[in-house]
């Protein structure tokens, strides 16, 4: 069992979410940076979709009441086990009673903890993910919470010592594809989107990354009927500033989607920090 001594700014249990229920208004949710969670799980021999913990801006401390193998991925964060430094992107043994502490990430936003055997939490619609938009799944972690660990029986052996990952870019360039409603915008708008620099707004969260920068001009007025939205959509509300939809985005929306991130770029978008600059390219 793991005890949350302090969760940091925001810590939630996440797996790969609740696909298959979007037609009922259920967001997919799951790890915002899915690549990070999958890697952490692989490093400790878990199935990639086992539940772990998503930390936002580090800052957490966990007491392990049983020994365990862990791996931390995503935003690179100073990691200490009983005060001794431990590398990220690598399996690490935690003795019974040890305190695991997360510093502040040097880059990126969200770090992922996988524990061999997975983290146990009640499943809702087949997932243990906390969905901050709909309220499905466990509440965000708070001090004193206890997380049971799953069994490691039948898991593959831990076989990798370290998984090198490329550093997160200081000014990421995210690959986009034209969106289903790109014709709602002027040609200038598309040129602006792919040439200007945008800044991440502080009111970004797991639902979406809000951006500040040049507004995109619409080529037509009128209202779009509500339609299904995918993760990575750049939805443009009337103020012209795109919002990148992340894991907890609403299943339908009525504002036009000018472009959609390539699937792999969604992971990079989930690592954007407030104030950070980014660009888009096709």
């Amino acid at each position: 069992m793991i005890e949350v001594v302090r969760p940091g700014p925001l810590a939630t249990v996440q797996d790969l979410g609740r696909p298959g229920h979007a037609h009922l208004g259920v967001p997919r949710s799951g790890a915002a940076d899915e690549r990070g969670l999958r890697l952490a799980n692989r490093l400790v021999g878990n199935p990639e979709g086992a539940a772990g913990v998503e930390f936002t801006f580090g800052g957490a401390a966990l007491r392990f009441h049983e020994h365990a193998w862990i791996a931390v991925t995503g935003a690179p964060v100073p990691l200490c086990v009983n005060g001794r430094e431990c590398g990220t992107n690598a399996p690490c043994h935690v003795p019974e009673g040890a305190l695991v502490e997360f510093g502040t990430p040097s880059s990126g936003l969200r770090s992922y903890l996988a524990v061999r055997g997975g983290v146990e939490a009640e499943q809702v619609l087949g997932s243990r993910s906390t969905d901050l938009l709909s309220g499905l799944g466990p509440a965000p972690l708070s001090s004193g919470d206890r997380l049971a660990l799953g069994s490691s029986a039948g898991l593959v052996d831990i076989a990798v010592d370290f998984a090198p990952t490329p550093p997160l870019a200081e000014t990421p360039v995210l690959r986009i594809l034209p969106g289903p409603r790109d014709d709602w915008f002027t040609e200038d708008a598309m040129a602006t989107l792919t040439s200007a620099s945008y800044e991440v707004s502080p009111d970004s969260n797991r639902v979406g990354v809000r951006l500040n920068g040049p507004a995109l001009t619409r080529a037509r007025d009128g209202e779009l009927g509500s339609e299904g939205m995918v993760t990575g959509s750049l939805q443009v509300p009337p103020n012209g500033l795109p919002i990148i939809f992340l894991a907890d985005h609403p299943t339908t929306g009525g504002y036009p989607v000018v472009a959609v991130l390539e699937s792999s770029a969604v992971n990079d978008a989930a690592q954007l920090r407030p104030g950070q600059h980014l660009r888009f390219r096709t």
Binding site: L24, G228, V230, T252
Partner: protein, 204 residues
């Protein structure tokens, strides 16, 4: 039918109207095409989300060839939603429409509704079929908390709040019927195409 790309793992199919969107949704659910993870109807669209293994070009070519059922509405009897019509906005809706409160209730409970699509929150169904006289704009300032079971209207739609949430729709009444229960399978009583009626109930 126009098939648009929504990124590298989804297609957005535009249909001429809602009925066609619901028929395409029904066909896709029956067909169970390989690699399709989610099928999400909208007002005049169906979003088809695939996993990374799916070949989007093939899927895009396949969609217009699907045989659509003649009528997507559920064959089942309509879901009857018992309503106590004592909503906070009932009098205001009467004033906005120039009807008496009783007439608002009569018209709301006389109509036959169909679930167009769900969104906003889990189990929140947008019901079409509302009497055009009752089409009123949503409130200028949304309530921060609308109680679970609130029966409401806004624009061309009727709905029941499946859980407590913020909301700007006009509240006509309330129901004790549980629309959303995550331990039930399926968790939502209302699904795209489900037919619905509202049945007035005595005050309790």
């Amino acid at each position: 039918m126009r098939v648009l790309r929504a990124g590298d793992a989804a297609l957005l199919v535009e249909t001429e109207d809602l009925a066609t969107a619901l028929r395409l949704n029904a066909a896709l659910r029956d067909e169970g095409l390989p690699g399709v993870v989610d099928v999400v109807p909208g007002e005049r669209t169906v979003l088809v989300m695939a996993d990374t293994s799916a070949d989007l070009d093939r899927l895009a070519a396949r969609l217009p060839q699907l045989r659509l059922p003649a009528d997507a509405a559920d064959d089942a009897d309509p879901v009857e939603v018992p309503v106590v019509y004592d909503g906070e906005d009932l009098d205001e809706v009467a004033r906005l429409t120039g009807l008496s409160s009783d007439e608002v209730v009569r018209r709301h409970s006389a109509a036959f509704y169909t679930v167009a699509y769900l969104g906003f929150s889990p189990g929140f169904a947008y019901l079409t079929g509302l009497d055009p006289v009752l089409h009123v704009a949503r409130r200028a300032s949304p309530r921060t908390s609308v109680p679970v079971g609130s029966v409401a209207i806004a624009g061309p739609y009727a709905a029941v709040y499946p859980s407590r949430s913020p909301g700007g729709w006009r509240l006509l009444g309330r129901t004790g019927l549980r629309l959303w229960d995550e331990t039930r399978d399926p968790p939502s009583l209302l699904r795209p195409g489900t037919r619905v009626r509202f049945v007035p109930e005595e005050r309790s």
